[in-house]
Structure formats: C-alpha cells, structure tokens
C-alpha cells in the first residue's frame, strides 16, 4: 500500500492559497482602514479582528451559518457549482477567515508607523500613487508585512477548528495535516499521528528559519 501523502499536499495548498488571498485582502483593508474616520475605523476594526479572538470552532459555526448548503447564500452558490462545505477549497475559506486578522493587524501596524512624509515627497515629485504604494510604502513596511504574511501562513497551515467544522475529515478529499493528526490519534494510531506532527514541525521550522534569514539579509543590506 502506498503511503497517503494527501494531507501534506492539501494543507500546503490550502495554506498557500489562503496566504496569498489574505496577503492582498489584509493589505487592502489595512491601507484603507488607516484612512477612515475614527468611528468607522473602530467598528470595522472590531469586525475584522473578531476571528482572531473567537474560538475557531465558533468561526466555523458562523461559516456554516452563512455558507451551509441549506442557507440562502449556500443555495445561491450551489447554482454555480460552488460548495464550501466538505470541499478542500472550503478549507481555503476557513483558513483565510481565521488567518486574515493576523495579516490585517500586522500590516495596519506597519502602515500606521510609516513616515507619511515619504509618500508626500513622492507626490510632490510627481510620482503616481501606485508607484508610491508599491515602491516606497510597501518596501518601507516590508518587515511588518513579511511578519504578517508568515504569521498568516503558519496560522492557515495549523488551522483546525474552523476547518473541521466546515469541511470535516475525509481522507483523500478534505484531510489536512491537523485534522489527520487528530483523526489518527483518536483511532489509536499514535505512530501515524507522530509522523504528521513531525512533518508539521519540519514545515514550521523551515518557515521560521526562512524568515530569520530574510531579516538578517535585510539588516546586512541596510548596514553595508
């Protein structure tokens, strides 16, 4: 019997796609939230950060409430063949919702500490706002944005609660590393559980090492 690597592939796929989604959404909301009037910003901020403080199972519950196949939106989406319940891309939705606040908050912190005179001087030199955003603001906020991306990736990779609520555990279809660990442990396959735990540890270690390396290189570049 060949070993089932599906959970690894599925987890990486879900984490990678949600990481990209959350990267753009987080930056988008962080950038626009920083310019909103204080009251609106406060309300939006609470709403966007909620998934971080709610138990993931509660997030999963809400997702089921919204996207369940018997709910209006779920029924509507089903007409286009889109079903978030019990599908692997439902896992992307769950992981994105839970990981979003990490990206949003770190990116917002980075944008808020950005020296606005840099953007102003770019404008008075006639540089376009798009250029200023991608070539001046983003590089200046690189540290925070990188940190947010890594946190979001790690969170998406390790997502369990909302994922298990929304997409459950079906070997070869919706299984991820974290749901597999639970399932194997529950069925007394301690060796199998340990194997996936080690895989998870290895991925997380590689991610963190990469971040440290990037940061070190950046510091070196600034000093040189």
């Amino acid at each position: 019997m060949t070993f089932d690597w599906y959970p690894l592939w599925n987890s990486l796929r879900i984490a990678a796609i949600s990481c990209v989604l959350v990267f753009f959404l987080g930056i988008f909301f962080a950038y626009y939230a920083a310019r909103l009037p204080r009251a609106v910003k406060g309300v939006l901020d609470v709403f966007l950060t909620l998934p971080m403080v709610l138990p993931p199972t509660v997030c999963g519950y809400f997702l089921l409430l919204i996207f369940g196949v018997k709910r209006p939106l779920g029924i509507f989406l089903l007409q286009f063949g889109i079903k978030f319940v019990m599908t692997w891309y439902g896992g992307v939705l769950a992981a994105s919702v839970v990981a979003f606040p990490l990206m949003y908050r770190t990116a917002r912190g980075a944008f808020e500490s950005f020296d606005r005179t840099l953007a102003y001087s770019g404008q008075t030199l006639g540089l376009s706002n798009t250029y200023i955003f991608w070539r001046i603001r983003m590089p200046a906020c690189r540290q925070g944005i990188l940190a947010g991306t890594v946190l979001a990736f790690a969170r998406a990779l390790g997502e369990y609660g909302a994922t298990s609520m929304l997409i459950g555990y079906t070997p070869g279809r919706t299984a991820t590393i974290s749901t597999t660990v639970y399932q194997l442990w529950r069925t007394n396959d301690e060796k199998g559980a340990m194997f996936w735990v080690l895989i998870n540890l290895a991925i997380s270690t590689v991610v963190l090492l990469t971040v440290n390396m990037l940061e070190a290189r950046q510091k070196k570049a600034v000093k040189a």
Binding site: D115, T117, T124, L125, A140
Partner: protein
Amino acid sequence: MSLIVDIHRALGAFTLDVSFKAENGVTCLLGASGCGKSFTLKCIAGIEKPDSGHIELDGVVLYDSEKHINLPPQKRQVGYLFQNYALFPNMTVRQNILCGLHREKNRAEKERKLGEMMKLMQLEGLENHRPAQLSGGQQQRVALARIMVNEPRMLMLDEPFSALDAHLRDSLKIELRDMLHRFGHEVLMVTHSREEAYNMSSRIAVMDRGKLLTIKDTKDLFADPGSVPAAVLTGCKNIATARKSGDHEVEVPDWGIRFQTSQKVREGLTAIGIRAHYFNTQTQQNRFPVVYVEEMEEPFEVILQFRYAGQRPDCPPVWWRLSKEKRPREFPEMLGIAPANILLLYE
C-alpha cells in the same frame, strides 16, 4: 513669476487665515511652532486642503474653492524639502535622485542630468549609498538634488536646518543660500529661527497663531517689526505696554517713564520694544536711573538685568546685552537709549 496665497481653514484651537503674494526671491515664513507655517506649505503643495481660498503660481490656479479646482500634488510641480528630508530609505542615492527624473524618458538624457546634478551637489562617489549611511548634510543635498532634477516651478523648505548639528548648520546655510539665490524661482522657507530667517531671506512673513501679521523686506522687519509678536520673533527682549503721550513721546506705565521717539507715534500704539543691545551709558536722551538686578554670562556677551527706578515690582527686569569687553566696571546709575531705537508696536 509669482505666488498668490489666500487660504482659510479651521485648525483645532485656531483658524488659519493666510494671505500673501510673493515674487522671485526667498521669502521666510517666521513663526513659533504650531502657528500654521508648515500647514501653509502643505496646502500650497496640495498635501493638505484648506477649507476655502485660492492658490495661484505663475498664473496657474493650483487651488480655488469657488471654482472647485484642487490640483493633485503630482500636477503642481512644487518642490518640497521636508524637515527630515524624506529620502526613500529602501533606495540608493542614485535611485532616489532618479525618482525626481521620472518624467525624462530619454535614457541618455536622464543619465546626463543625473551626473550633472550629482556633480553640482558634490555627491559623486555616493551613488550606491543608502540614506541611512549619509551624514545630515549629505542627506540634505540628496533631497535637494532629487527636487532640482524634477525642475519645480517653486521651492519650499520646511525648517531645512533643524535636523543638522549646530556646527554643520552655519556652513550649510551659506551653501544653501547661494543655491537658492541661483534657483531663479520663488522660494518659500519655513523657520522659527530669526537667525535663519535673517541669513537666508530677502523677505519675511511673520505668522502668529494662524494669522499672517506682516510681510516685509527682511532688514525693514528687524528695524521696525510693528507688532508685539513680530518684535518677539525678531528677538526683541524688552517689550512693555505703552500709550501715546505726544507726537514723538510714549508713556510706559510699567516702567514709570516716558520715552522720546524719533518716529512719529500713530494712534493705536499698544506697546514699545527695546532691543537688549541698544542701551548705552553715553546716550544723553531717554536717560533714566536704573538699579542692577542680576546677570547671565554667555560665551562672548553678557546679559545684565536691571530695573528702572520707578518700575512696578511685578513686571520683569529689563535686559541689557553687551560684549564682555565693553562691560563697565561699575554698574551705571543711569542708562540712555536713542529715540530711533524705541520700536513702536501697534495692534
């Protein structure tokens, strides 16, 4: 070549009402911190928006609330040197200056202009340095180079020396002054330092809590500030409330004396100012008995504080500043002041 500014905006504690016209040359906006100087610059640059008003540069309307014109900063072609120079930290000196050359599409021409400016600003050899590796003076030159290659139609400087060490400041002042006079367009500079204003500008606009009080040629302003805030900003240490008591005479109740003035006193006089340097033991006019209070030594000068014999006890002592060599051995019993040195300050 001219700049017309007439802007209004509610700004928290006060309202900004600034209206002036400036032509070629260096004009300083002089005022205490938080009086709205920098905000005025930002409105001209298009970074901030006034509530209402009109801004026009060389006949081009940059902002007009009635005509609903508000050009974005990108279209105003106004050079702005920020207090911290605002160099892009992720770019090298070369890349920073190239940002100012983004309109030049011809590659060869771009390189030529870059090289020319690097040479002019004495930045050769620093092409690949990052801003963090430069000294304050070098950073200022890079920022200016980046603005100059962009060929702005006017230049604005916001406290250009505040980020520099004191010893660097003086040598850079001379460099910058010469450069600004060569620039050939309108230059607006914001400062709270009267020395900088005096060194750099041909004209000074005095601002106080959002209002532009006077705009005068630099030397005229120091000779005759005309109002209490302008007198304070130009460094006048002795200011006392006064009232007109004759065509060439003012009464200062706090000091219990009357001064003869050489200028004719107009109605509406509220105070007089006397610069600390102008008291004299020899002068026979406006000569009154004085009492020594205390002194403070400076590197090359000394400040002697005294009171007039009839001075009210609750009003502060008067400052007399003179160079150390000229200091009398005994504190004089009488001090005089030339009538021309009584500054008449109006509402």
